[in-house]
Subunit: 467 residues, 2 copies
C-alpha cells in the first residue's frame, strides 16, 4: 500500500498553505474573490511560511507554470535573491539555509534531489519526460509516497508537452505507455497511480484522439500543478494545526522527538510531523529535535538529519534505543510522528518503532501526536487488528551499503510497521484540525470536512486554465 | 567502570557449574571431600553442561594446566573427538556445533577468537605473553569484561613462566611492567585490574625478589586458573538458576528475547543471559531466541547471532525497534538481559535499550529477568539515580565500519547505558539464586552468601598447587 522504502510518510492525497493561526480557505469559484484569495495565498506563502530562498525558488518554479501572477507574488520582492541563492549553492558558494523540496523545475527540465546520494552529497538528477521520471522513481532517486505522486504528474505533463504536434494515435500510444511506466515504477505507492489517473482523466475528457495537442498538454499540466498545489495546501494546513497543538513555551527550547522521515523530501513542500517542525522553526520558536536514526533503513539518520541541517534547525541524532533513556531523564517534551494508516478508532500504523515510542511517552506523560492528512484515514477498517503488517527483506537488517553486520545466513524478522493503539495517542493532527480521543467521531468528521472542502474548491491553477 | 565497548555484559568477579536442578557446592577445604567434589564437578562439566566438542576442548585446555585429573575427566571418554573436531574445523571441515569460549590454550600459546573479524570469519589470534595479551585487549580482539580478566590473568602467568630462570630484579621489572601494560589496556574494565592484582599478590606473597622463579610462575599460573575456574563456576550457577526460572513448557518453543551480547565470547564459558540460553539448549528444551541487533555497536547482530548460530540454537535477528511489535503480537515469552550494575534497591544499569524492553515487557505481562552475578551488585549506591551514564563517541552512530550513515557534522547523543527501575524487573538472577522484588534484602543476602561461599572455598587448582 505504500512506498516500499520510505513508507512511514503519509500518503496524503495532496491540497494551500495558510496563516499559522487559522488555515484560510484559499480557493474560490471565480471572479474577483478568486483573485483576492489567490493573492492572499501567495503572499502568505512567500511571506510567512516559506522563508528560505531555496524552498521559495522550488515553489515558484512549480507555480509559475500556471500563473505568472503567482510567480510574481512569490518572487517579488525577494525572488531575485532566491534564484541567485539557489545558483550560488550549486556553484559551491555558501548555500541558503532552509527546507528543500525534493524537486524543482527550470524550463522544460524537472530537477530531483537524488536521494540515493544523501546525506553524502547534494546532487540533482534531471528528467525531461515521464519515462525518465519513472526510472527515477524505480531507482529510489525520489521516494516518499506524496512526493512520488507529484513528480509523476509533472513527468506525465512534460511528455504531453513534447507531443503537442504529434498525430492523435501516436500521442495516445505515447501517453498510455508513459502512464503505465509510471504506475509500475513503484506499485505500492497509492499516490502514484492516483496522480497518474487524474492526469489521464483530463486527457480522456478532451477525447483521446483529439487533434488539439496543445489543449491536452495544457490540461494535463494544469492537473499536475493542481496536485502539487493540493499537497502543499493540505500539508501546510496540517503543519499549522500541529504547531498550535505544541506544548506551551518555557525558558528552554521545546524538545521534539521524531521518528523516520516525514519532511519535504518525502512530501513535497512541508511534510507531516516535520512540517510541524518547519512551521515552528520558521515562526522562530526555539526548538531542538531528537532524530531517531530509524533502523533498519536509517531514514532518520540519512534524511531527517540532513533536512534539519539544511534548514538550520537544531537537532541531535540518537540511536532508536536511546529514546527511552531521554524520556526517563525528562529530556523529551513532545513526540511527533507520521502515519501510514489511521483506522476508524484511531489505531495507527506507522514505521516500526513508533509503537515503542508511544508506550514510553505514555509512561512519562509526554504528549504523543500522530501527524497524518485525512487521505491516510481508513474509516473502513474498525481497529488496528485489521491492518496487515508488511515484512521487508532480511538484507536491510543483515548489512548496510554492502557492509555486512551479521552472519549471512541469519534468519531475520523485519516488520516495516507497527500499530500504535489509539489509547496511547494524545492527538491526531490532520489538515482539518487536531482530533483528540476517543477518535471515532473526530476522524469521521475530519474526513467529511476534507471531502466537502475539496468538492467546493477549484484549484487556482485549474480555475485559471478554464478562465 | 566497564569494558568501553561491550560493557553490557556483567563484570562478575569470575566462580563451578552444577547440576541443572540444584547448584552444587563444588569446593571443599581439603582431604577426600575435595577430590570427590572435584570429580563431581568435572563429570558434570563434561557430561551435563558442556555438550559440544569445541567448548569442551576450550575448558579442557584451561583446566589441564592445573590438573591432569581434571583434564582426563573432561576429555575422557569424548576428549579425543573434541580436539579432533576443533582441528577439523580450522582445517575447513564441518565444524562441531556449540558455544565457543573466547580463548583456548595449546602448549604455551593462548589462542583468542579474534572478535574483530566476527561474524565474517572465525580467526584465532595467538598470544605468548602479557604484552601480546595487552595488545589484544587494546585492539578489541577480545572484549567483554569477564573474558578480559581471564585472558589477562593467563597472559601474566605466561610471562612469569618465560622468566623462571631470570634474575630476581629482571623478573620483577618484567612482571611489574607487564601488569601495568595489562591494567592500562582497557582502564574501564574492573575485572581486568582485579585479575592482575590477584596474580601480583601471589607473586608478592612469595617475595618480589625471590630467587625461586618456578615457584612464582607456578603460583601465578594457579591463580590464573582459579580466576577462570571461579568465573566458570559463578556463571554456570547463575545460568542454572535462570533456567529454573524460565516460564513453564508449552507446546511451542519458548521465545526468549535478549539484548546485546552476554555469551561465552564476553564471559569465558557460559555467559549471563546467554548462559541461561546455553543451559536450556543443552537441556534440549525447545527455545527460539529473538536477538536484538543492539545499536549502535551491534553486539547482538555481530556476536550474539554468531554465537547462537555456532551453537545451533534457533534464533532470529531483529532491529531493536521491532521488539515492541513482537510483544504486542504475543510473540515474546520472556526477556533475559545482562547488567552492568545492579544497585541496592534493584535498579539496574545495562546496555542502552534495556529500559525500553522492560517498559514494553511490563505493558504486555512478559517476565523480565536481569542476569547478573553478585560481583555486579553495588550495595553502596541506594538507587538508579546514583548511577552515572557514560556517553560514548558520536562516530559509533554516524557510521559503521567506515560507511557513513548520517551527515558528518551531525550532533549525536550516544548514551551507553540506561537504567531500568526495579519495579519493572521480574527477578534478578545471580549465582546465589533468583531474587524477586522488593530486592533490597535479597540482594544484600546474595552478596553476603557469595562472599561466605568464596571465603569457605579453595579452588581445586589452588588447593592442588598447595597439596
Amino acid at each position: 500500500m505504500a512506498d516500499p522504502i520510505d513508507d512511514s510518510t503519509d500518503q496524503g492525497a495532496p491540497v494551500a498553505p495558510a496563516a499559522l493561526a487559522e488555515p484560510t480557505d484559499l480557493t474560490g469559484s471565480s471572479g474577483p474573490e478568486v483573485d483576492l484569495g489567490r493573492r492572499r495565498f501567495f503572499r502568505q506563502f512567500a511571506g510567512e511560511i516559506i522563508q528560505t530562498a531555496a524552498t521559495m525558488a522550488g515553489a515558484a518554479q512549480a507555480l509559475q507554470r500556471a500563473s505568472a501572477e503567482a510567480a510574481g507574488a512569490i518572487l517579488d520582492p525577494d525572488g531575485g535573491s532566491a534564484l541567485a541563492g539557489l545558483q550560488a549553492e550549486f556553484a559551491g558558494e555558501p548555500a541558503p539555509r532552509g527546507f528543500r523540496t525534493p524537486f524543482r523545475e527550470d524550463g522544460d527540465v524537472l530537477y530531483l534531489i537524488d536521494q540515493r546520494h544523501l546525506p553524502d552529497a547534494l546532487v540533482e538528477y534531471d528528467c525531461r519526460s515521464a519515462g525518465e521520471v519513472a526510472f527515477a522513481i524505480r531507482e529510489m532517486i525520489v521516494r516518499g509516497a506524496p512526493a512520488i505522486g507529484q513528480v509523476a504528474a509533472i513527468g506525465l505533463a512534460m511528455t504531453a508537452a513534447k507531443f503537442v504536434d504529434s498525430r492523435p494515435y501516436a500521442r495516445r500510444a505515447t501517453l498510455l505507455g508513459a502512464a503505465n511506466a509510471l504506475r509500475v515504477s513503484r506499485p505500492t505507492a497509492v499516490n502514484l497511480a492516483w496522480a497518474v489517473d487524474r492526469l489521464m482523466a483530463r486527457y480522456m475528457a478532451l477525447g483521446d484522439l483529439s487533434e488539439d495537442g496543445l489543449a491536452i498538454a495544457t490540461a494535463m499540466r494544469e492537473e499536475a500543478d493542481a496536485i502539487v498545489f493540493e499537497a502543499t495546501t493540505d500539508h501546510s494546513r496540517l503543519a499549522a494545526f500541529g504547531y498550535e497543538a505544541l506544548p506551551p513555551q518555557t525558558d528552554v527550547p521545546l524538545r521534539i522527538l521524531t521518528h523516520c522521515n516525514t519532511g519535504p523530501l518525502a512530501c513535497g513542500m512541508f511534510g507531516t510531523a516535520l512540517g510541524v517542525v518547519q512551521i515552528a522553526h520558521n515562526a522562530e520558536r526555539p526548538i531542538h529535535v531528537w532524530v531517531d536514526e530509524t533502523r533498519p533503513y536509517l531514514q532518520g539518520a540519512r534524511l531527517t538529519a540532513w533536512e534539519l541541517a539544511q534548514a538550520g534547525v537544531p537537532h541531535t541524532l540518537i540511536p532508536d534505543v536511546a529514546a527511552g533513556h531521554l524520556m526517563s531523564r525528562g529530556e523529551v517534551d513532545v513526540v511527533l510522528v507520521g502515519a501510514d494508516r489511521v483506522v476508524a478508532n484511531g489505531d495507527t500504523a506507522n514505521k516500526v518503532g513508533t509503537y515503542t515510542l508511544a508506550v514510553l511517552a505514555a509512561r512519562h506523560g509526554v504528549p504523543f501526536y500522530v501527524c497524518a492528512p485525512t487521505s491516510s484515514v481508513d474509516l473502513a477498517t474498525p481497529d488496528g487488528a485489521g491492518i496487515p503488517i508488511e515484512e521487508r527483506k532480511a538484507e536491510e537488517v543483515l548489512s548496510f551499503r554492502g557492509v555486512r553486520i551479521a552472519p549471512p545466513d541469519t534468519q531475520v524478522r523485519n516488520p516495516s510497521f507497527d500499530v500504535t493503539p489509539a489509547e496511547l495517542i494524545t492527538g491526531i493532527v490532520t489538515e482539518e484540525g487536531v482530533i483528540r480521543g476517543p477518535f471515532e467521531h473526530g476522524l469521521a468528521d475530519a474526513v467529511a470536512s476534507a471531502k466537502a472542502r475539496r468538492a467546493a474548491s477549484v484549484s487556482p491553477f485549474v480555475a485559471q486554465g478554464t478562465d
